[in-house]
Symmetry: C2
DNA sequence: CACCTTTTTGTTATAGTATTACATAACAGT
DNA sequence: ACTGTTATGTAATACTATAACAAAAAGGTG
């Protein structure tokens, strides 16, 4: 199979399960890499995982405030940067926002399907895309090391509501 | 041939020719579509085409100032938005910057190779990537209408200097 | 434990990117 | 010339992100 859908989360599902599993994976992953998933970082990760919609840094700040913290921007950005480097979340450049990664230990680069209607984002990993990029890069002598692939459109659920 | 390099501009070439051709194509393209390429818009397009490096909106403002204008941010953003909609330039979301499109009439979506060393950007159009995306989108019921594909790495010229 | 080093978090200020709202000017058709 | 439309000018503001330094917490060592 040449493509794999990591998070096909356009539509109904048991989201409490998503969040719980993400947190458990995060604990294991950080322990394995010697990274410290502090209380603050875990709380930010929980906030990011509240939905499958991307969350901005200032959304995180706002949410932290409702939880009793009095954070300044660096607090959110530092936690988010940690989570990005730990590969627990991804940053969506086209939206200036972050989204939880459902498969943090696979060392993948994110490829994202962004629904303009419901704002949900699904992460995919399509080996054909990766191979096509590697092949093109190689043919031009370009040495690729990071990909930002963000596809915008309408998810099936939203399209059928039209 | 499944992939096509639109602008393989990592390295030496006659750049005056790039700029001149881009401006001529812009005139023709706008005339054909009934779009008005005003003096200001043409000047901004020229600024964007000064190099193959992406140019930020505030870079454009700065450059307009050296040319005798006294512009405010909306002046630059409006001209850049026009040029994006006219498909004469592309916006690189991962850099908050703009770059000239060397093939404005082909109705393509940009795919970009961004060199972190020399900052140059090449635009490519790889049909395998597009097909892979369409196939994945179709298989999930996702209706894609815009792609943002930005590959970061080292161009051949920069890598051989290491 | 007391001490030192490193990492994390708090705090203030500021830099960088982009848009809103409204006024004026240029343009196109009558 | 008159009128509606599009483009540009201008001022203010909103949104996104980082720098610089202080304080606190965590971890290791004797
Ligand atoms: Zn879920
Ligand atoms: Zn949707
Ligand atoms: Zn050139
Ligand atoms: Zn280079």
């Amino acid at each position: 199979m040449s493509d794999k859908i990591i998070s096909p989360f356009f539509g109904q599902h048991n989201h409490a399960h998503c969040t719980q599993e993400a947190l458990e994976q995060a604990e294991v992953s950080c322990a394995g890499k010697g990274l410290k998933l502090t209380a603050l970082r875990k709380e930010v990760l929980t906030i990011v995982w509240q939905t499958h919609k991307p969350v901005g840094a200032y959304d995180v700040l706002e949410e932290l405030r409702t939880r009793g913290h009095k954070p300044s921007p660096p607090t959110a950005y530092r936690a988010l940067d940690f989570l990005v480097h730990a590969k627990l979340i991804h940053r969506l450049a086209s939206l200036n926002a972050y989204i939880g990664c459902p498969a943090p230990d696979e060392g993948h680069q994110g490829q994202f399907l962004i629904c303009t209607q419901c704002k949900s984002v699904a992460e995919i990993e399509d080996l054909r895309i990766i191979k096509a990029i590697d092949a093109t890069a190689a043919s031009t002598g370009f040495n690729a090391n990071r990909q930002s692939i963000e596809i915008t459109g309408l998810c099936g659920a939203c399209e059928s509501q039209t």
